[in-house]
């Protein structure tokens, strides 16, 4: 019964992205910057680092699929990229020591990778007219700042939650 906490937590994180968009005034900074909430991805990375990599990949696949269908309509993008990012990040955490400040750098690196992949895909299918510099200033930097703030506030509770879930599953 207690094992149900994991899917519930992930579902909560999945909706937290759009919930943040509901509260965040989109016209902040006169609309010049577009920070993108990536809280679900962050949850996935915590899951991979502190719980279990393979189940994180499965969750990434499943929720990426939902994300594609419900929000973007461009099937396959998140479904494929989220597991890829989780896999990449788990390789990095093996080489580096797993303390929270170091993990922040890994998370930021993963965020850059995901944003670049999605941007590249959008350029490829001609759904955007951002130049790369514009993309870097308007989207990438604010996204990194927003998610770094989220990390600073929620990294300790998230790590605790996943360690606890791990002890439930073991």
């Amino acid at each position: 019964m207690k094992k149900g906490i994991l899917p519930l937590l992930m579902i909560g994180l999945f909706y937290s992205d759009s919930l943040f968009m509901a509260f965040f005034p989109e016209n902040a900074f006169q609309g010049t910057y577009i920070p993108v909430p990536r809280f679900f991805l962050m949850g996935l990375l915590f899951m991979a680092a502190f719980f279990n990599r393979n189940s994180a990949i499965k969750y990434g696949f499943l929720f990426g699929f939902l994300f594609d269908m419900f929000y973007t309509g461009l099937l396959g993008a998140y479904m494929f990229f989220l597991p890829l990012i989780v896999f990449m990040s788990s390789k990095l955490t093996k080489w580096l020591h797993n303390t929270l400040p170091v993990f922040l750098i890994i998370v930021l690196f993963d965020l850059v990778a995901l944003e670049m992949l999605i941007y590249g895909l959008n350029v490829l299918v001609q759904r955007t007219e951002f130049s790369f510099e514009e993309f870097a200033y308007v989207r990438l930097l604010p996204t990194l700042i927003l998610n770094a703030l989220f990390y600073i506030v929620f990294s300790i509770p998230l790590r605790k939650a996943f360690l606890k879930i791990k002890s439930i599953f073991d």
Partner: protein
């Protein structure tokens, strides 16, 4: 050094790249509506989204109310002056409506392109990755919503329905970068000037209205509305005001920059307009018939 990609992983990677390309190709196809598995997934996800977003909406609107309470007095003064004009306007509208109905009866032309039935909807989500300017609303096929219907707020047109499922629909805003996102529009002046709303200038925050004849005289500040000639949108929905007129690259037509009447940010409640008059294209199953008849001519 351990091998990064074992054989099994390499096969998985290559296989999923193929699937990725196939799925993207599939979703980019020019299609009328999404397939039923997508609809099903959307309904299930939308159900959860509804549960999450309704309380969030309530909290947000509470704070909004508190903020509004502070300028109530000034607003009240302003509204009182409007109110005096309103009584006159209301009686005029009632009289004109009656006239219009009577004259239509005389002409035996009951329906007009301007008639539409609004369906109220609440925005339950905005695409969090913010690439395609899509919002999701809580009304779907069960309320008679179909792809390509016009979506408006009380200020004016904001977008059109992109895809529908049973209980939710996805709306593409006018500010989206999509070459298929066109709206047939008309500039209202002494004589109507037709054009197409096509594209959005992100820096100036204005819509581009193209294909305006080069000899058309358009003044700054003239109102732009939908023309109803595109087939699905009703006539007379407000889009915005003309701000600037520039000749296009060949000098054959002009492009007007239109300041949108509605904002595309922080939408909460929208209306979907069901046009009452018949559409230009016949129903799917009858289309083949029309093509054959045209060939015969």
């Amino acid at each position: 050094m351990p091998q990064l990609f074992t054989n099994k992983r390499l096969i998985i990677l290559l296989g999923s790249i193929i699937i990725l390309v196939a799925m993207i190709g599939f979703s980019l196809r020019d299609r009328d509506n999404i397939t039923w598995p997508e609809k099903f997934v959307k309904d299930v996800t939308g159900f959860g989204q509804n549960i999450v977003s309704k309380p969030a909406d309530a909290v947000e609107s509470f704070f909004e109310d508190v903020r509004r309470l502070r300028n109530t007095y000034e607003e009240n003064e302003k509204l009182r002056t409007h109110l005096q004009k309103l009584a006159q306007l209301e009686s005029d509208v009632a009289r004109l409506k009656k006239d219009n109905a009577e004259l239509r009866k005389v002409l035996e032309k009951q329906k007009s392109l301007a008639d539409y039935e609004p369906v109220q909807a609440t925005v339950i989500a905005r695409n969090p990755d913010r690439w395609y300017e899509l919002i999701t609303i809580d009304q779907g096929e069960s309320n008679g919503i179909e792809p390509d219907m016009a979506v408006l707020t009380s200020d004016g047109l904001v977008g059109k329905v992109k895809s529908t499922s049973k209980f939710t629909s996805t709306v593409q805003l006018l500010s989206a970068h999509d070459s298929q996102n066109r709206v047939s529009a008309v500039i209202q002046g002494t004589s109507a000037v037709h054009g197409l709303i096509e594209g959005y200038d992100k820096e100036k925050k204005m819509l581009q209205m193209t294909k305006i004849p080069s000899d058309a005289k358009v003044k700054k500040g003239q109102a732009v509305t939908t023309s109803g000639l595109g087939g699905v949108f009703p006539k007379g929905l407000i889009i915005g005001k003309v701000m600037e007129l520039v000749p296009d690259e060949f000098g054959l037509t002009q492009t007007a920059l239109v300041k949108p009447a509605a904002t595309f940010y922080d939408l909460e409640h929208v209306m979907v307009s069901k046009r009452e008059m018949t559409k230009v294209l016949p129903e799917e199953e009858n289309r083949q018939q029309v093509l054959i008849e045209e060939e015969g001519l």
